[in-house]
Structures are given as structure tokens and as C-alpha cells.
């Protein structure tokens, strides 16, 4: 087991390093940032000063080592656009985004998994058709469309909810709904199909033959096996959800990390982009590492083979 953990950890760290280096190289490909940060008629001295102040005058290798060591020191340099330390910008905006993502992630699992199970057990019932209908809507309606429809309905027509910002808990309702609907749909659909696969298997009949009640068969014997692919996808889904917060924050003018990244991309604010990608990639990779390690809890056979 511990050899497996070490191997997976090493691979995760290597992947993080690879992503960081790739982003560093990409952002250095485009030439001198002062050409788009300053007006065309700026003098050479002004350009040189800006380059020094942004640390772009140093050798590229030095910039790279600084950039990698920032992983541990947290000092990611100054934003080109806001001209403030990048760490500060992220610290200000991390709270709202984390709240949004964490609640949404929890809701997605809390609703998605049970809905999927109920739909699978009562296959082809009205409930099954209804939940699957909703889930098709969930993955065919893009989140920005869903968000705008909600603003139109709840903010402009019914005047129930604020359309943007984040000053009160009410401001969280529509962003949360928008972010969660798609995830609930995804997880419910997957749980349902995984559960259906397992429900067909013969070992459940032998459990029944041995006198286990239907409840025990479904929730103890079937569910544990059905959950393995679900857990994998929930891990991968975290990435999709982070992408989702970017869109949702833009729709609802929610001042979080997602909207920061969009602004950074528009202004080619590379330090912010680099830091953002680092946070996202590290989070997703570490969560997926945890997911891999959790298989052992779900299936003793995997645990023994570690």
C-alpha cells in the first residue's frame, strides 16, 4: 500500500511540475509584455523601468527558479494589470470561490448519488424518467444560458433575487444553483448507469438466495461496487466544476477567482494566470490522488493488491 502511495504521489508531483513549466514557457513565448502594457509612444526608459519593476529584466533561468520556488514561498510577483502582489489578489477572492465550489460540490454529491440510486432501483418508473429528463436538460443547457435565464426570471421578472455581487447569502443562491444543476445531473446519470450495471450481476442473486433482504442487497452489496466508477468521475468532475465557477462568476458578476482569471486573460496578466493555473492544477491533481487512494476503502480487493 505505501509503495503505491509513494508512486502515485511522485507521479502527481511530476504532473504538477510539468503543468507549471508548460505554462511558464507558454507565457514567455509571446515576447515583451511592455509592448501591450504601455502605450505605443512610451519611451524606452519607461519600458525599461517597467521591465525592472515586473522582474522581466532578469535572466529567464532566474525567473523560472523564482517562479518554481514561489510554490513554497507564495510570492508570485506582481499582477501586470492591478499592479499588486498576485498572492494578495487571490487571497481576497479565494473565500467566495471556495465557499461557492465547496457547497456546490457537496450538494452535487448529496443529491446526485441518491437520485441516481433511486432512479436505477426504480428503473423506467415515472421518477426515473423525470430525473433523467432533468439530467439531460442539465447537460445540454450551458451554464451561462441557465444563469441568464435565472437572472431574467428571478431578478428581472419576479424581483426575488439580486442579479450580481456577493454581499448577502441571497447573492449565493443563483450562482450555486447554476453551478450545481449540471453537476447533480452528471453524477446522477453516472450513478444510475453504474448501479444498473451492478444490479444485473449474479452475485446479487446469490446474496438474495442466502436470505439477504432487498434493502441489504441494494445498499450494501450493490452500492459499494457501483460507487467505484462514481468516485472516479466525481474526482474528475471537480475540474469541470472549477471551469464552471469561471463562467458562473462572470454571469453573476461574482468577485471570485474565476472572474479574476477571465479578466487576467483579457489583459494578458500572466502572473495571475500562472498562479491561477497552479492553484487549479494542484487542487485537481491532489483530489484525484485522494480518489485513487480511496478505492481501497471501497473495495478490499484493491486494498489487498496495493
Amino acid at each position: 500500500m505505501s509503495a503505491f502511495i509513494v508512486k502515485r504521489l511522485a507521479k502527481a508531483l511530476f504532473t504538477i511540475w510539468f503543468v507549471l513549466t508548460l505554462v511558464f514557457l507558454l507565457t514567455r513565448l509571446t515576447g515583451d509584455p511592455t509592448t501591450w502594457l504601455l502605450p505605443d509612444d512610451a519611451s524606452a526608459t519607461v519600458r525599461a523601468e517597467l521591465r525592472v519593476s515586473l522582474g522581466l529584466d532578469r535572466p529567464i533561468v532566474e525567473q523560472y527558479t523564482d517562479y518554481v520556488s514561489a510554490l513554497f514561498t507564495g510570492d508570485m510577483g506582481k499582477s501586470y494589470h492591478y499592479l499588486r502582489p498576485v498572492g494578495e489578489l487571490f487571497a481576497e477572492r479565494a473565500g467566495p470561490t471556495l465557499t461557492l465550489a465547496a457547497i456546490s460540490f457537496a450538494l452535487a454529491i448529496l443529491f446526485g448519488v441518491p437520485i441516481g440510486i433511486i432512479a436505477a432501483v426504480n428503473r423506467n418508473s415515472l421518477l426515473d424518467r423525470f430525473t433523467m429528463g432533468i439530467s439531460i436538460a442539465g447537460y445540454t443547457i450551458p451554464s451561462f444560458v441557465f444563469g441568464i435565464l435565472m437572472i431574467f426570471l428571478f431578478s428581472l421578472q419576479l424581483r426575488l433575487l439580486p442579479s450580481g455581487g456577493m454581499s448577502t447569502p441571497l447573492h449565493y443562491i443563483m450562482p450555486l444553483l447554476t453551478l450545481t444543476v449540471d453537476s447533480v445531473a452528471n453524477i446522477a446519470r453516472l450513478t444510475r448507469s453504474s448501479m444498473l450495471d451492478v444490479l444485473r450481476q449474479e452475485y446479487l442473486d446469490s446474496a438474495r438466495a442466502k436470505g439477504a433482504g432487498e434493502r441489504v442487497v441494494i445498499y450494501k452489496h450493490a452500492l459499494r461496487n457501483a460507487l467505484i466508477p462514481v468516485v472516479t468521475v466525481i474526482g474528475l468532475h471537480l475540474g469541470t466544476m472549477i471551469g464552471g465557477t469561471v463562467v458562473v462568476e462572470t454571469v453573476f458578476a461574482f468577485p471570485g477567482i474565476g472572474s479574476l482569471l477571465v479578466t487576467a486573460a483579457q489583459y494578458r496578466d500572466f502572473p495571475v494566470i500562472q498562479y491561477g493555473v497552479m492553484i487549479v492544477a494542484t487542487t485537481v491533481i491532489l483530489v484525484n490522488l485522494l480518489v485513487d487512494l480511496s478505492y481501497g476503502l471501497l473495495d478490499p480487493r484493491i486494498r489487498d493488491n496495493f
Binding site: 507565457t27 439531460i136 445540454t140 475540474g239 469541470t240 471551469g243 463562467v247 462572470t250 485537481v284
Partner: protein
């Protein structure tokens, strides 16, 4: 794929025909409506659709905030969105299938590199990759096509690799090798022809996610730039007029959903035809 013509249910047939209609209309948009997308007519700003109060017959779906015919823009926007999604699809399908077949047939270093790259890709959300690319390379149609192509290939690679590994065990592959068939011949005549059906089904199912990615990027302002137009950009531009002229955002939204629903349902149906075991799952 052994789909007999008479086995297509009417409902699916309607979906296919209506989707093809959208495709043809958007391809032919410049022929029917040869206009300059940047041209504005400020005397006719924000007119409602002709069937609503205050609408004019000359503008069927009304006009936008710069007085441009909304229906024509809708055709051009659909055209751009579909073009980018399809071109991205071709790149990701060809690249992904090729890598998948090669790594499936010949394990080794290439296989390790490709599977590492697939892992890397899966650890960063497509939208974040697109944001990085848009900020580095700027935004243009070509960049968007490349972004979609390069973020979309891993699922094709995985599928093609799995299918190829299964095929490798088949008797006819062994006979073909024994008869001295060249590597190229094996790839093109045996592998590609045998895995084409699942790949086509997968491609159909991927179109909708590419359309969604394109429209999301354009919505965020990182895709198609004005005065050019795409469905996502239209939704975004109409946002400021939700109170007075709601159709500017809602109509393109409905068009996006309509296209995605059509394509997904056609894809689902194709998959069920291919593999009845998957039905209802």
C-alpha cells in the same frame, strides 16, 4: 454500422433533418444575406421582433443595440459556432484516433508519453487551458479551433487505444500479419476500418461539448471578437438589455440549447444502434 434506413424512428429523422437544415442555412448565410457584419444603423436600434408590438416587418427578429438585423446575425453566429466546433472536432478526432491506434499497436515510450499527456490534460479543466491559450495567443477563429482540437483529443485517444488493443487479439489480425501485410496496411485496412464505428459515434457525442466550449469562451469574451459574431457572444452582448430587449440574449440561448439537444439525442441514438447493451444506461 448496419443501420437500415427503415429502422430510423420518425423522431430521430426529424431531429436529423432539422439539424441538417440549421447546418445548410448557416453555411448558405453569406449567399442569402451578403452583409457587412460591422455595418450599423443607429436609427433602427433595439427593434423588437416583427411579431411583437412595435416590430417592423423588414426585421423578422428585430435589431440589436447597433441596429443590425438580428436574424441575419443569428445565422452568421450559428455558422461561426458550428464551423469552429466541427473544425475542432476534425482535428481532435484525427489526432486522437491516430495517437490511440499507434499507442494501442506499439506500446513503449510513445505510449507512456501519450498517456502522460492525456493525464495532464485531464488534470486541468478545458476552460482553464483555453483561458491560458487565449491570453497567450490572443483570440481568433484559428486559435479557437486549435484550442478545441488540442483539448478534445484525449477521449478519442483513450477510446481508440482501448479498441485497438482489443482488436490486436483478433484472429484475422494475426492471419494478416502472418501473410506479411505491412504495418501501414494493418493500420489502414484492419484497425481503422474496424474501429471507425465507435469513433464516429464518439465524435457525434463530442460535437455538443465542443459547441458548448466555443460558446462559453465567446461568452467570456475570450473567443470570437466583435464585429464578428458567434452564439455565445450574442448571448453575452444581449445581457445588458435583458430588461428592455430580452430576446437579444434569450433567442441565441435557445438556439444553442436547440442545437446541443439535437446533436446529443442523435448521438445517443447512434450509440444505442451500435451497442444495444448500452440502451437505457
Amino acid at each position: 454500422m448496419r443501420i437500415k434506413s427503415y429502422s430510423i424512428p420518425t423522431f430521430i429523422l426529424v431531429l436529423i433533418i432539422s439539424f441538417l437544415l440549421i447546418v445548410v442555412l448557416s453555411i448558405l448565410a453569406p449567399v442569402f444575406f451578403p452583409i457587412d457584419l460591422g455595418a450599423t444603423k443607429l436609427t433602427a436600434r433595439l427593434l423588437p421582433p416583427s411579431f411583437m408590438e412595435g416590430g417592423k416587418a423588414e426585421f423578422f427578429l428585430g435589431t440589436d443595440n447597433l441596429g443590425r438585423d438580428f436574424m441575419i446575425r443569428l445565422f452568421y453566429g450559428t455558422r461561426n459556432s458550428l464551423f469552429i466546433a466541427f473544425a475542432g472536432l476534425v482535428i481532435s478526432a484525427v489526432l486522437g484516433t491516430l495517437l490511440g491506434v499507434l499507442t494501442g499497436l506499439y506500446k513503449g515510450l510513445l505510449d507512456s508519453i501519450v498517456s502522460f499527456l492525456v493525464d495532464v490534460k485531464l488534470s486541468i479543466p478545458s476552460l482553464i487551458i483555453s483561458i491560458v491559450c487565449a491570453s497567450v495567443f490572443g483570440s481568433s477563429k484559428l486559435i479557437m479551433i486549435l484550442i478545441i482540437g488540442l483539448t478534445g483529443y484525449p477521449s478519442f485517444t483513450r477510446l481508440a487505444r482501448g479498441q485497438t488493443i482489443q482488436l490486436k487479439e483478433a484472429n484475422f489480425m494475426e492471419s494478416s500479419r502472418a501473410l506479411g501485410a505491412s504495418k501501414l496496411r494493418i493500420v489502414f485496412e484492419h484497425v481503422l476500418s474496424n474501429i471507425s464505428s465507435p469513433m464516429i459515434v464518439h465524435a457525434t457525442m463530442k460535437i455538443s461539448s465542443f459547441i458548448l466550449l466555443e460558446s462559453s469562451l465567446s461568452f467570456l469574451g475570450l473567443g470570437i471578437q466583435p464585429p464578428d459574431v458567434s452564439l455565445g457572444l450574442m448571448v453575452s452582448a444581449g445581457r445588458d438589455y435583458l430588461i428592455s430587449s430580452w430576446w437579444l440574449s434569450i433567442i441565441p440561448s435557445v438556439v444553442i440549447v436547440l442545437i446541443v439537444v439535437q446533436v446529443s439525442m442523435i448521438g445517443d441514438w447512434l450509440r444505442d444502434q451500435m451497442d444495444p447493451k448500452l440502451k437505457n444506461s
